[in-house]
């Protein structure tokens, strides 16, 4: 009477994706508080990781942009040291360095600066016979071309800078740094105050407020190259300071020496700022490593949390598992369901954690007036990290659930 096996009648049990999805949703939303607590470790781990990467990048960028303001647009040209040592050798920097360099595309301003040898002569203002007060000072004298004020981004407090006309005519004028003006007791230029360097009289036409580069100028008497050449025997400028456009430093660095000394460019040493990318990466790696380790540890803790609670939930849901098996679920269906739940939990945790991490980055940046900078891949990759954690954490509980005997599972609550 045993019938032949009718092939068509056997249909393997199956679980559609939509059903799996809705089962997972129901399981995760049935106890929202518990779901959230389970995910908490992973949320914090991902948040810490994202915030660390975000803040490190933000801070790195911040430090670099400070570099930018001060040095990334500055090129300094000096003679090679070996040339300076030889007495008969004059510095290769010509007096028209400013003209030669401002012709280069990318140069904003250029100016020469030279320490003037005054032979130990004091600087004094108009003699006042004050036996108690000091009226002669050892003040450094610096010869400059007119472009130096622009190249150092100098601000004037009163009066004016000297210009190339003063330079060409060797007019006896001077601009005082604020420190020098203070010591010489000169506060305004309206009445054309005079100062004396040794016996040479000069008219003060301006007083500086501040400079952003070459702070030596702040305490110096600055005179045009022409005067320095005629009265103090300056043979050649000792340094050229160039203000360049952002990003042009490397280019100008390669051209400046040829422009200044076409016959012997090797005699000049050109200082360009370190390339921004190099500065950035070294800063970032310092900040990152420690916090990445911390973030990684909290991720591991998060994974253990998910694994733990999923395992507990497998034990709690023993009868449910048995029931599902009785209703036609295979071991694989059970494993898939638990794995999907923990992966979904991990993904949600990853999403929340990523959002928190980005918010932290933005909030910290806001309190410090930084510009938040984030790798655009981070918000995409971080939630996937959560998924992976969920999958890894769910593997053992899912395997355990799928191996439950439906028989004992169903009798469990008897």
């Amino acid at each position: 009477m045993a019938a032949d096996r009718p092939e068509l009648d056997v249909r393997s049990s199956r679980l559609s994706f939509r059903d799996l999805f809705s089962e997972t949703t129901i399981s995760l939303t049935a106890r929202p508080a518990r779901t959230l607590l389970t995910a908490l470790g992973t949320i914090l781990g991902v948040a810490a990781l994202v915030a660390t990467l975000g803040l490190a990048r933000t801070a790195g960028n911040q430090i670099v942009s400070r570099f930018d303001e001060l040095t990334a647009t500055q090129v300094v040209i000096k003679p090679e040291t070996q040339n300076q040592g030889r007495e008969n050798q004059v510095s290769a920097i010509p007096f028209d360095a400013e003209d030669r360099l401002t012709r280069l595309n990318g140069v904003v301003a250029a100016g020469t600066t030279s320490d003037v040898e005054t032979g130990g002569q004091f600087v004094r203002s108009v003699p006042v016979n004050d036996p108690l007060g000091q009226n002669e000072f050892q003040i450094p004298v610096i010869a400059a071309s007119a472009g130096l004020f622009d190249a150092t981004r100098a601000e004037i407090r009163t009066g004016r800078f000297f210009d190339s006309g003063h330079d060409e005519r060797s007019d006896p004028v001077a601009v005082l740094g604020p420190g020098a003006a203070n010591r010489l007791n000169i506060t305004q230029t309206g009445n054309a105050p005079a100062i004396f360097i040794g016996d040479e009289a000069l008219v003060v036409i301006g007083i500086l407020e501040n400079v952003q580069r070459d702070s030596a100028l702040l305490n110096a008497v600055i005179i045009p190259n022409g005067v320095a050449r005629d009265r103090f025997g300056l043979k050649a400028p000792s340094e050229v300071l160039v203000d360049v456009n952002v990003g042009a430093a490397e280019l100008i660095g390669s051209q400046a020496a040829i422009a200044l000394a076409p016959n012997n460019p090797e005699s000049l040493r050109v200082q360009v700022p370190p390339s921004p990318t190099r500065a950035q990466s070294s800063v970032r790696s310092d900040v990152n490593s420690l916090f990445l380790v911390l973030g990684g540890i909290s991720l591991i803790v998060g994974a253990i949390g998910i694994a733990n609670v999923t395992l507990v939930s497998v034990l709690e849901r023993t009868t449910e598992i048995g029931l599902r098996r009785a209703l036609g679920a295979t071991r694989r269906h059970i494993a898939t369901q638990f794995l999907t739940e923990s992966a979904a939990l991990g993904t949600i945790a990853g999403l929340i954690g990523t959002s928190l991490g980005i918010l932290t980055t933005v909030a910290v940046s806001a309190t410090r007036d930084w510009t938040p900078v984030l790798n655009p891949l981070l918000p995409l990759v971080a939630p996937i990290l959560g998924t992976v954690i969920g999958l890894v954490a769910g593997t053992y509980p899912a395997w355990k659930a799928s191996n439950l005997e439906p028989i004992s599972a169903l009798r469990g609550s008897e």
């Binding site: 056997v10 249909r11 059903d19 009868t319 209703l327 008897e414």
Partner: protein, 223 residues
Amino acid sequence: MTAPVVQLVGVGRTFDSTPPVEALRPTNLVIEAGDYAAIVGPSGSGKSTLLHILGLLDAPSCGSYYLDGLDTSGLSEAERAGVRGSKIGFVFQSFHLLGHRNTVENVALAELYNTGSRSDRTERAIEALRQVGLGHRLDAFPTTLSGGERQRVAVARALVGQPSLVLADEPTGNLDSVTTEAVLEMFQSLHEGGITLAVITHDNEVAARAERQLYIKDGMLSE
């Protein structure tokens, strides 16, 4: 002549332990369509083993089990699960309803792993609930149901896939005498409706309501 719903040919089950335990000795059994059979025996008699084999939750160590004329011994696990889901409805002693789902969702769960179309799953669940007289409690959650109502939900879940065989494992074990009576009356009406029922119980009164009584003792089945 159509094949009987259940046909056991020399089916036995031995558990591999030291020494091996022969929980069910080679047994022959036929349950025809529409039968209402009670399998009675004290605990440890092997009736659970028989239940698991009948329910395709366990495979016999020897012999052949034909369900609706289909030899189940050669099936893969996925196929056996598929046959289990579509041809057998279970009613358990502890109901095993999911607490976070209402009665309709609990009943509809029975078709989760089967090929029944998804769209009218809810309608079929509602239909099955009406069949057991619970049409008025569709949105209720198990915690708000009485023991008898829960067992009726469990019966509805067993019926929804229109199985060939309904297997009840101690269906009245957790119920008082009044509700037991109500559930037994429901079984009676299901039987009259042509459903093939096998009730496993240790309670002779429950067994007495069935059409056939099978006794199991020490792994031996007798009628």
